[in-house]
């Protein structure tokens, strides 16, 4: 065959190129232009004037953030909630998948699976609305604790208030509840791909259920766990905004103000666009470092990573 020039090949696949470029143009406008907009983190941008006219201020906004007396508190909230979700919330779907896998009745298993996906499909607004009502002093949770005799009627508390004493716990439990079944899907899929002969051989050798779980199932899904763990670590700076925005209020602000909430409040409520962008950029950079670090570690330890 005769070799064609690149230009001729391009012309031949012009329709495909057009399709690809539609996507590239979208990415340029909605992903790359905002990335370029990050320059306002180094300027003093006012909405009334353009980005170009705004004067440069260097790292002033970053310094302001680090010097902010809220800084350590905000970092503690962001990382505290994320660490709880990582240490306690991350293993739960794995345990759930392992236990669900032991259920032999197929109809029951299907039913449990379907029911466990339900919370994933409920919006954070609806769930937040339910939680706000339930955690009220006269809500279901207090009713339950009083009925169980944990404390009397005088002990009723507004769990979303109290200076946010319970906020991290509420964030952890509600998030775990919402995504338990959904996050188990991938593990269940990985488990169903394991060669059944290994289990048969183990049974012949007299291995019990726990032994099979620890010596066959878990090692077989190690790669999946590692990849999802890398993603979870890299997402640590991203608190679940929808969730926290819904559940935070002035009474729990000291424990609920995470970076994302701070960005929103400073940017949208106070109008400090440049400062808020700087805080957001700081967050993205830390997240990127976490991703690279977690991926390298995972590749060394388990051989699996994102790339």
């Amino acid at each position: 065959m005769k070799k064609k020039s690149v230009a001729a090949k391009m012309w031949q696949q012009r329709k495909l190129q057009l399709m690809a470029w539609l996507g590239m143009i979208w990415l340029l406008v909605f992903a790359y232009i905002p990335m370029g907009g990050i320059v306002i983190a180094f300027k003093n941008y006012k909405i009334t004037k353009g980005i170009w006219e705004a004067p440069w201020v260097g790292l002033q906004h970053f310094r302001d953030f680090f010097a902010n007396d809220q800084f350590w508190n905000i970092m503690a909230n962001t990382l505290g909630i994320s660490l709880l979700k990582l240490v306690i919330g991350f293993p739960l779907p794995i345990i759930f998948a392992l236990l669900l896998n032991e259920i032999k009745n197929v109809t029951f298993k299907k039913f449990v699976q379907t029911a466990s996906y339900l919370p994933h499909f409920i919006s954070w607004v609806v769930l937040g609305g339910i939680l706000i009502t339930w955690l009220d002093a006269n809500g279901v949770i207090n009713d339950l604790f009083v009925a169980l005799g944990f404390y009397g009627d005088a002990g009723r508390t507004y769990f979303l208030g109290e200076n946010g004493r319970y906020f991290w716990l509420i964030a952890l439990i509600s998030d775990s509840w919402k995504e338990l079944g959904w996050n188990a899907i991938i593990y269940l899929a990985a488990i169903s791909g394991i060669d059944q002969q290994m289990y048969e051989a183990a049974t012949v050798d007299g291995a019990g259920k726990l032994k099979k779980i620890f010596y066959i199932t878990l090692p077989s899904i190690k790669g999946t766990i590692a990849i999802l763990f890398v993603l979870a670590v890299s997402g640590m700076m991203n608190s679940n905004f929808d969730q926290i925005f819904m559940l935070s209020n002035s009474l729990n602000a000291t424990r609920s103000t995470v970076i994302d909430i701070h960005v929103y409040e400073m940017g949208m409520r106070v109008g400090r666009y440049s400062y808020a962008t700087a805080v957001g950029l700081f967050k993205s950079i830390i997240a990127l470092i976490l991703l690279l670090g977690a991926n390298t570690t995972s590749k060394k330890l388990t051989g699996s990573g994102l790339y």
Partner: protein
């Protein structure tokens, strides 16, 4: 076939030990408990919304309506602003989902071709956006300068493409038998014809998965409404709900003397709206289960 083997195997061929039976028993009880935890909150909202609003204010309704009434739902449908919000949500879900699925699939089809010149570059351009973005404020400024602020299109255009969903689609397109496409090309079909006539109809499972992801996002999202709209007529139902909840909470905290009748009305509207927004998804997702499970699996492999 595989599943059958698994069932045969896990059946109690060997007499199961007492320990194993105790484990199974506890496991079943535990699973029933999980089901209860997942279903009960919605059940609670449903029974409370079906109770007379004034009576429901005194609390204590856990399992069944005490004074049955459809008053809350009548109230919802009498509220014109609320109906408008429902219209916005339905429109953005339908238009947003269809456009996003088609557009993402179209780009994905082109990028699924190994011989596409510049493919590596295009993939790199997209991959970067999965790990780094401009953030809230630059995005807000962009939408404002594009005239998307307080415009219905703000729900549609920024949600029209997703690189991650595209990756899922690409791995599906790759699995399609190439013979169908080849024979269509021999008959003189161009890329667009092949895409619309051959690839799309064959890709229903992955399109359904992505449509479900998009549909749920569009239906449930409240933040775009909070962030990018101002007019009441553009407020999606979840944003409307968010506003009722936020207002009720702040007025409660301010302990201002709120009119009891107002509180009752807003609570009853809140409950009924929660049910109306949640029930459609509840009715749909069990039937799409096999699709989204597959979609999640492709996604996991792709990662």
């Amino acid at each position: 076939m595989k599943r059958k083997n698994a069932e045969e195997f896990s059946g109690p061929k060997v007499k199961s030990s007492t320990g194993s039976r105790i484990f199974d028993g506890i496991n079943i009880v535990f699973m029933i408990f999980i089901c209860f935890l997942c279903i009960y909150p919605i059940w609670y909202v449903i029974v409370n919304s079906l109770n007379d609003a004034k009576d429901a204010m005194s609390g204590g309704i856990y399992w069944w309506p005490r004074v049955f009434s459809l008053g809350s739902y009548k109230r919802v449908f009498a509220e014109s602003g609320l109906l408008q919000s429902f219209r916005v949500t339905i429109m953005k879900t339908l238009i947003g989902t269809v456009l996003s699925v088609l557009f993402t699939a179209l780009v994905g089809y082109a990028l699924s071709k190994k011989y596409l010149i510049g493919r590596g570059f295009y993939m790199a351009v997209g991959t970067i956006t999965m790990f780094f973005g401009g953030g809230l404020i630059p995005t807000f400024i962009l939408y404002k300068s594009l005239g998307l602020y307080d415009n219905f299109l703000v729900f549609i255009i920024p949600a029209m493409f997703s690189f991650y969903n595209m990756l899922i689609m690409i791995s599906f397109f790759r699995e399609l038998p190439p013979s169908l496409e080849e024979s269509a090309r021999i008959d003189g079909a161009g890329d667009f014809t092949v895409f619309f006539r051959i690839v799309l109809p064959l890709s229903k499972p992955v399109l359904a998965t992505i449509a479900l992801f998009n549909g749920v996002y569009q239906w449930n999202d409240y933040f775009a409404g909070v962030m990018y709209t101002q007019s009441k007529s553009l407020e999606p139902i979840q944003t409307y709900l968010y506003r009722i909840i936020a207002t009720a909470q702040s007025s409660q905290m301010a302990t201002t003397a709120v009119n009891v009748a107002t509180t009752t009305t807003s609570t009853s509207i809140k409950l009924a709206t929660m049910v109306i927004t949640t029930v459609p998804i509840m009715c749909v997702y069990p039937f799409l289960q096999k699709y989204f499970v597959k979609g999640m699996m492709i996604g996991a492999v792709k990662e």
